[in-house]
Symmetry: D2
Subunit: 188 residues, 4 copies
């Protein structure tokens, strides 16, 4: 059995919806158990128990939701000091309103989430271009769904935008299942 | 008189078109002279003679066109060693094909161009959200125009996508004109 | 009279010390008033009243302290919606413990603070290489002081590491004083 | 048998030395064949034949050596269009002179190399903090060795700085060996 933990913060429900779709994709991989948690409720034990961790955020001024940042500072920092998660699998996803048509800062947002996972020693899973749904909600660092028009009007996330999220969840679950059986980074 | 230098590399003409529009905007600012050059043709003298420098690139795998990188390595590096451009004004712009709807890596592309300008000690000009045309081709780091559909089909840059570029050029020209008259970073 | 606002979050006092040094440098520029505030205490009015804003953070897993992120989400987001700060001047600084000798994630940390300022339409001030003190605490995006050894032992920030911070504060104050008298980004 | 390809560009030999040390670490993993190539000599066939690809660069003004950028534009772009490398393993490393003590732009340099690998659909291997040698040449995105003093004087890379590189090579080889036997990203 392998375990996937999906962590998120959400303003109006779009990122939550995206998190659930990631979970659905992961759950479809045989032998995978999935838990979805809001960032402020995640404990160090949740993270230690997981084989794969996927974190997602809305884009707030080009960086993650502060609740995720609090989780990183208060939960992840301590695990980093103990090298507790080295060799697990990590991935990210995002949503955004933005304004304009160029991602509105989602790339740096995802990278700062990935920075946390790199610090923790997690193997990072990108989103390949040939993933079904990539053209509607894809960025190389992970799936990204706009929940606003280019003029900033909120319209929510559409079902067709969530296909790449589902596939991302499954990709991570497949990799976590294998990684769990190996010691890729031998203990010093 | 103040001088703006626009530097670019282009694959199929979209970035060149964008560079010309930037130039048009800068030229409209009274007392401004503008030169547009391909990256491989820029000399250290061109840069030293400019008060404001604007560089733009297509997005290639999440980073700038190699011709711009060659310019940075072979022209900018030497100027950095001499602190020759400290206190001038810098800005960036981009185009992209991408695939998916999240900017396709344009944010890191622009940031690596900005990194060069930060190293050189240039004051950096972003693109404010209330710039006319932002909703059609705007990112906070500079204007960005898609030249492909979300499925990756080339369609070129449309006129309406270039409005934010023209305004960006004018913004930079206005700031360069003032910066030229001041010593913001006193010589050590 | 022009006004500089220095915003920070601090774990053990190093970033606070750095913020005070930035303030000292800004205050030394004639006609400049300076206020130093913890991120969680900053109001929209504080920001609207400032001509230049400088934000600094410790490096936490490659991104800013969550208190700064909360300030961005809850104070800056609303100001962005109103384009309230367009044309002001912004800059950043950092401290870090890290482990290893490569900055420990300070570059992305500073970039996510700068992303907020770019979104707000602030003109961005880098740290030129010829700034006195750069070799002891310099990065192109702003001054950065290590407060730990390369093995992660806390040693605090030394006086010699703060020279570049003082100069950074003065640079920003000089530019803010001039920017305040101009309309670089005309209202649409 | 699994195959690791190490790609680099080098100015004065430090990055080449680092590349050889990465190769040495990879070669020590049983059943692993290693090839080391200069960026300008890499062919699409070299990349398709590899199970794991590791790319390294000196830091030039906060971004990679232009020869690596040319390789990305002219070799990797075409492979991306064909989704030819999806599911392989990727990692990066860096060297730098810089000036100042904060990495001198190595983080964005490594991230732009990683951006290429994310676009190609490679699983990304970070450098865990507990890797032997991390304190002398470690960054979360990959090993990084300074080859200059903080005042910018070239001193070359020391043997003790290369320990983390050797371990990085071995980590990637171990993961590539396993990844090669799985279809983590099923073909659409």
């Amino acid at each position: 059995m392998s375990k996937i933990l999906v962590i998120y913060a959400s303003d109006y429900g779009s990122t939550e919806k995206a998190a659930q779709k990631i979970a659905e994709g992961a759950r479809a991989v045989e032998g995978t158990e999935v838990e979805v948690k809001k960032a402020l409720e995640v404990t160090p034990e949740d993270m230690s128990a997981a084989d794969g961790i996927i974190a997602g955020s809305p884009t707030h001024m080009g960086s993650m939701h502060w609740e995720l940042k609090k989780w990183i500072d208060e939960v992840c920092g301590g695990l980093w000091m103990k090298d507790a998660l080295v060799g697990k699998v990590g991935a990210v996803f995002g949503t955004g309103g933005g304004y304009g048509n160029a991602g509105g800062g989602c790339e740096l947002t995802m990278l700062s989430l990935l920075n946390n996972f790199a610090e923790l020693g997690l193997i990072l899973v990108p989103l390949p271009r040939n993933t079904p749904g990539y053209d509607k909600a894809g960025l190389q660092w992970g799936p990204y769904a706009r929940a606003h028009t280019e003029q900033g009007q909120p319209v929510g996330v559409k079902e067709e935008q969530l296909e790449s999220f589902m596939n991302h969840g499954a990709n991570v679950a497949r990799i976590a299942k294998v990684a769990q059986q190996h010691s890729f980074f031998p203990k010093p």
